[in-house]
Amino acid sequence: MRTAMLVLPMLFAIAAPSRAALGDAEASVGADEQRFLPTETKVSDHGPYRLHEMTRGDGSVIREYVNGAGQVFGVSWKGPVLPDLSQLLGTHFAAFHNNARQKAGRRRIAVVHSGDLVVESAGRPRAFFGRAYLNSMLPAGVTEETVQ
């Protein structure tokens, strides 16, 4: 029993974060980098927001948009294959996944509006692209058009 109590927190420590992104703190971008393994990373300031851009050798690009409060308010992707959307959308992935999977009407959709969350996934093999953003986290004066 005592042993179990000691072990448990360690398991948590190992299993925990490494998942990140949309809606999370800017530091979480690092977790995405570890998964995406970019060959090039860029950070640039754009006044009301900061942009993290990761590029991979296959031409894939992931962009993460951070507001003044240090929150990732938008992400976008483009490339020959889809990135791990469960990683990129973080806690918001379930809302996308459940909506995209809904059986009512026997259909799958790749464009999801779920409360504050918007996810748009498009393309086909060799040419995927998409974006996701949280309306409530958009900086003042910044529209969803910024997330590209």
Binding site: G57, D58, G59, S60, G79, P80, V81, L82, P83, D84, L85, S86, Q87, F93, F96, H97, N99, A100, R101, Q102, A104, G105, R106, R107, R108, I109, A110, V111, H113, E120, S121, A122, G123, R124, P125, R126, A127, F128, F129, G130, R131
Partner: protein, 435 residues
Amino acid sequence: MSFRAVALRAVAFEAPAISNAVLIARAAGVAALGLALAGCGSTTASSSNLGTGTSTTTPAPVNNVQPIIVDSGPAALPAEDANVDVAFTTVTICVPGTSTCQSIDHVAVDTGSTGLRILGSVLTLNLTRATASTGAPLANCVQYADNTFQWGPVAAADIKLAGEVASSVPIQIAGAPGFTAAPVACSAGGTEVDDLVDLGANGLLGVGLFRQDCGSACTSAATNPGVYFSCGPFGCTATTATLAQQLQNPVWMFAQDNNGLIIDLPAIAATGQLTVSGSMIFGIGTQSNNGLGAAKAQASDDLGNLTTTYNGTAYNQSFIDSGSNGLFFLTATATLPDCGSQAPGFYCPATVVSLTAINSGPNPSGSGAQVSQNVAFSVANALVLFNTPNYAFNDLAAENPGAFDWGLPFFFGRPVFIGIESQVSAAGVGPYWAY
């Protein structure tokens, strides 16, 4: 295949507020260009040698017409799981070089992907599986925009369509029983669609613009996007694959009629049609039945995209895809309202809306001149369509803000030519579309 979708009348939709009566019948969404089957004269004759890629021997013509049908799908598929606007065909595959063959019906025809994928649950042939450079089994992954994917080992088979044969072609055994599960790099967190109910078909025949599903990117570690995987005892890791190891568009591997194909579906009414029969014709300008006629050719970019301009906005990541079972474009507006909870994302206008967009791309002949043409199309109330008994619609549409995805509705009444990359025809060098 990009999006797959859509409901059927079998689903208990509530009666829509709009009755069928309000739907104003109009001729099929587009003007039929018509295949110039005869009288192509010197154009056809001069292109026939180009099509085979050889200049000396011309093989005796074979039957190049493969029937396709838009219907409810495989007999074993429960009615409530059937999709609308999917074109199917019957594919015969054989153990390479033998007469040990299996005919598989209701394989979806997909111009948006490349290669043959057969569900492991329907495959009865014992096909030799491929190995990666590591010596471990070679697996293939394909993803779709709706965060679904197909996964399975690669095996070699002869593929027979009409009188044409592609020999010893790598195919995917999708959802092969007992095979290692897909890694996250393939699943991307999404859903595997490798059973009959999820796929709604017995397989997928990718006959798009490209020769291989991945192409040169997968041949080098530096550019490898991770489409092929080596599956050892500790799981699957991304691996490179030579062009020859990759899934192939079988059409370019035919001995003749190998420069492209035509998807030819007749015009249908705005209220849809129960089932629709058409053809997949192999070769472009190689026989008397596959001349370009009045069709205008537009090259795609390296990714297979063309530019669709609508209301003055250019969408340069647009594409034509028989594997998308609707027209996917823009977002809901007052004119094109969302259907709401019964079919979120689909459009439910009060009456059929007629629209025009402009598709453009460079002339594949190499002149570099931009070729543009108007595309007239229409959007009906999706819930009204779903409440008909029909499986084929030319006016079913849904949201897709970033690009125009011209799915199967685009094909009705408009023969669509697909020029395969690096293959030569009278129109020029692929990849191109002509219609």
